[in-house]
Symmetry: C2
Subunit: 595 residues, 2 copies
């Protein structure tokens, strides 16, 4: 069985040592979100995740969801767990107090999301999707729409979905065929079409499901400019807020997937379903995109969450499993064999997992703090700055964190040897569950194009400058500190090369978009590794000052991992920079039929 | 659904263009193994694999094996397919004609194994294990043992297993507890103990199962020097060859695994089972190791086999799936969208798969030709040379080919986007099935230790020289050929650095074994990438000369893939060499409890 204890000490390190979460409480509306409140909420969340959600993770995977006559049942225990989750107020955490929410910061929400996913990623999909729907309606809904739908999404008695994909289109939403016909009343439409891959599209956890559906208003412009967003509830909602008759929304089937088996992935058929235009007609994509940053960050968090569980479990196994002897001679001659953690290669795998997961969490926390500033800072310039940073980092968080998480969960299996392949141990489930994070919310290749094709040129490179300048300043200020050389120098070197290839990619991409496309994935990864390296250098600086106290082991762990990062992880950029410089030719020269 | 057509053109390229399979027919005993015979056998094998085995691959995964009251049932259709397989003589291919075999070369057997695994890896496990048992008895058995067991293993009416692992030990076989007590008659023992992870340990395909069991003769030396190998049949065999009573061998359960679900992985309990000492007492490990090279090569082949199926299927999808537009402008304005193969990043993924899979096959063919020479060459010096080469390359083939295969099957999923995650499409099964290849027959970290700790120092580096010298000579002969510069130069550079780090690792490893252990995995990978780069350079040389003919597209594909390899794959060594040079410190400094 896997092991999971919420990494509360790690959270404290990020919130109070690496970053200063106290700053959040100075923002209007966040006055109550003091570091103490963070601690309390995280402790409560930890309990729920460890005691309620985590024990359902294996059984949920084994049992999966079932589909019969249009009804989807979640695995045993999920309904009870969901009721506890919702009664605990966890669906309301980040929501607007006007609709019953607790108005707490995104930063806190993200840490809770991480714990939930570490414990039971499939479970986390249900409230996660609701939160997306909540956000879309909160941002774009009319006052009446908000009054009607938000309170029940906030208290979790209803859930939400995002209905984008159709059989013929996922990435390319301009091909959407689901159509909306005006139904006579202003803003009311009849929605008809089939959507696939709808997470939480149908289930038995809530009384109603609020679908957010992308559809084409009949007679609207073709392609992506004719797509609108609609609210389509499973049950119609009466004026008094009570449930009316069933709407024309039916689950056609559920998908049988590699993982996240306890998350219902549905085919949803809309047949003249009553839907309400959300935001402006034909501007559905824009409305959808406002949810996208948070959703993509959330997927990155799912990744690191599974990396955490894999790490905790593999660490335990490596310390317990007696097999073979240390290469340099027996470490525990009185035991039948040494624990496998004596082996350099096992340590290499564990340290990679640790470096990836803790580095990812630092990166995600950095961005989520910006998300709160972008929403709440009274200074428009500060908001813009935060927004730029989020825009730049979102594709990196989504893609790199999920790639790394898949690598980390696989290293976890590898440390277990053959036992890692056996379902009972739970390690292979982490691999299967994490695999989806590289695919949904825009496959990772799409993230790379977003970075290179949109974020990089945006505002003449302003987003990039907003990252490059402070990092550069931080590094330069430490050039003279001998104890930091081993961290600052490798990051500085990689950072310099990153700036060079940035110019190269921008320049070549201008002349030939395929050049940008050819560099995209490796550029994103190099950027992410440098950004993470910068954070590991900052972490090392903190750890160096705290090796003497009670928690020496904790800081030694940080320091050793930072060293490992510089010696063994960051050098991946050597390859990436060469690959980027190689350009598009070797990718594009071959005729499609010669593959 | 996945797609699979046996890559017969690829086989011809390897056997007749890159290498010269005609040489094999000059070896004594292989006179009949002409290139024509190779072609015929491969064509027949292709039919069986495409038409019989491949259609059972998905259903076999969905259904899995079942266990009830000690009886294991393989999925629907497997028994019929196995009967066809055995009636076609496929279990006898490489076996000694004295026992009913066809005496064909290993090289041919390996290509057939690849096709079988591409079509249905789980199915291939059953005859694969039998072949291992055949080989052990053929090498180490007495004349009576051979007469008793080999003909039925050869004709496939019985199958075999290798029983090594126990709950407390996999890698560290010195910890084996299964015991053998002399039963009165010379060479006969009572075997008692529990073995786990026994592939094909129990099933319904054959009349009898011949287990090869590692056990400790009571009173023998402790540790690995007290392990002996025994033949333990499921049913006792009468003197006339007929089946006698059931032996004390029972299947306790089957494992529920991540993949290869149609392959029965069994817990086998031996209770005073009658067993026959195979080879010398206490020398069981040595006997086991004679099977190991072939078994490890076989696992490498399973890897590339799944990479091939993933590549064929992903290529088809990338050519068919219309989604989005080419970055540089519409390629097919008359279609609703362009096929995704127009995108540089999709091509990057496909070319990586192609480079890995075809490079792997070339590497494996090179080694399997040596295997045939090592067995049959009348010149002892030539045999020794071939043996050295096999010893050196086996861990590389096992580890790198399976790491690459897992990467390739995952790229296949990535090209499919969300559809890749859905079981119906079959892509995720390839990921799950391929994952085991990195774990069994010695996890890949163990392979790396075998390379660095055993093969590198063996005979004062003779194995390495046997690889370095001819590669060096080949490269030097081509230094002046302008058309080969783009291939020879990058390989030469990486090859030079490989020689440097070889000296470094050997030197540091002598002083501190942890230094060798810290470098092992990355050294193995760097070695493999250079060896594969050398083969891609040779392939490019051939392709360059044949671009004009009917098969221009085929050779263009080879050439473009060779270029891609130099530009985008081989540069991974840049990182690996840096990692190797970083040494053990960053891995070893942290206390185990600080992880």
């Amino acid at each position: 069985m896997t092991t999971y204890k919420a990494p509360l000490r790690e959270y404290r390190f990020l919130l109070q040592e690496l970053f200063d979460v106290g700053e959040l409480a100075k923002l209007p509306g966040y006055e109550d979100a003091t570091p103490d409140v963070f601690e309390q909420v995280l402790e409560e969340g930890a309990k729920l995740c460890e005691e309620v959600l985590f024990p359902l993770n294996r059984s949920g995977d084994e049992e999966g969801c079932t589909f019969e006559n249009g009804v989807v049942r979640t695995p045993k225990g999920f309904k009870e767990a969901y009721d506890l989750f919702r009664q605990g107020g966890w669906t309301a955490l980040v929501c607007d107090p006007e609709y019953g929410g607790q108005g707490l910061p995104h930063t806190l929400q993200f840490l809770v999301e991480e714990m939930v996913s570490s414990a039971n990623m499939s479970f986390g999909m249900y409230p996660g999707l609701s939160n997306g729907a909540y956000r879309a309606i909160w941002h774009h809904g009319s006052a009446a729409q908000k009054r009607k739908f938000l309170p029940r999404l906030v208290d979790g008695s209803w859930s939400g979905t995002m209905c984008l994909t159709e059989p013929q289109c996922g990435t390319d939403l301009g091909q959407i065929r689901t159509r909306a016909e005006p139904a006579g009343t202003d803003g009311v439409y009849k929605i008809t079409g089939t959507k696939i891959f709808i997470s939480a599209g149908e289930h038995d956890l809530t009384d109603n499901i609020v679908h957010l559906v992308l559809a084409r208003i009949v007679g609207g412009p073709p392609g992506i400019r004719g797509i609108s967003l609609f609210i389509v509830p499973k049950f119609l909602v009466k004026d008094d807020g009570g449930l009316g008759p069933r709407n024309g929304v039916r689950c056609g089937s559920i998908e049988h997937k590699m993982g996240i088996k306890a998350s219902a992935t549905c085919v949803i058929n809309f047949e003249e379903a009553e839907g309400y235009l959300l935001g402006e007609a034909h501007k559905g994509m824009r409305a959808m995109f406002t949810m996208m940053n948070a959703a993509r960050l959330g997927v990155g968090l799912q990744g690191l969450a599974l990396g955490e569980t894999a790490y905790q479990t593999a660490r335990q196994y490596a310390q317990d499993r007696l097999q073979g002897r240390a290469l340099a001679g027996d470490k525990f001659p009185d035991k039948p064999a040494d624990p496998i953690i004596v082996h350099p290669d096992v340590r290499r795998m564990l340290l990679t997992m640790k470096a990836y997961t803790e580095g990812a969490r630092a990166l995600a926390a950095w961005v989520s703090l910006a998300l709160d500033r972008a929403e709440r800072d009274p200074d428009p310039a500060a908001r813009e700055e935060a927004d730029d940073f989020i825009g730049l980092m979102t594709p990196i968080i989504k893609a790199m964190l999920t790639d790394n998480a898949f690598a980390a969960t696989n290293l976890g299996v590898q440390i277990f040897g053959g036992h890692g392949y056996i379902r009972e141990w739970g390690m292979e489930q982490l691999v299967r569950d994490s695999r989806i994070t590289m695919l949904y919310e825009g496959a990772n290749g799409i993230q790379a194009l977003d970075l290179v094709g949109r974020k990089m040129p945006m505002h003449n490179g302003r987003l990039l400058r907003r990252f490059f300048h402070p990092v550069d300043a931080w590094l330069r200020q430490r050039l003279e500190k001998p104890e930091l050389q081993e961290f600052v120098m490798p990051v500085m070197k990689a950072f310099g090369r990153l700036q060079q290839v940035t110019a190269l990619v921008a320049q070549k991409g201008m002349a030939d978009p395929d050049e940008a496309g050819a560099a995209a994935s490796e550029y994103l990864r190099a950027f992410g590794l440098v950004a993470m390296g910068y954070l590991w250098a900052r972490i090392a600086e903190i750890a160096l000052g705290r090796l003497g106290g009670d928690e020496a082991l904790f800081y030694k762990g940080k320091l050793a991992t930072a060293r490992f990062y510089m010696a063994r992880v960051l050098p991946e950029t050597n390859t990436l920079f060469v690959n980027i410089a190689a350009g598009a030719k070797s990718l594009m020269e071959l005729e499609a039929e010669a593959f």
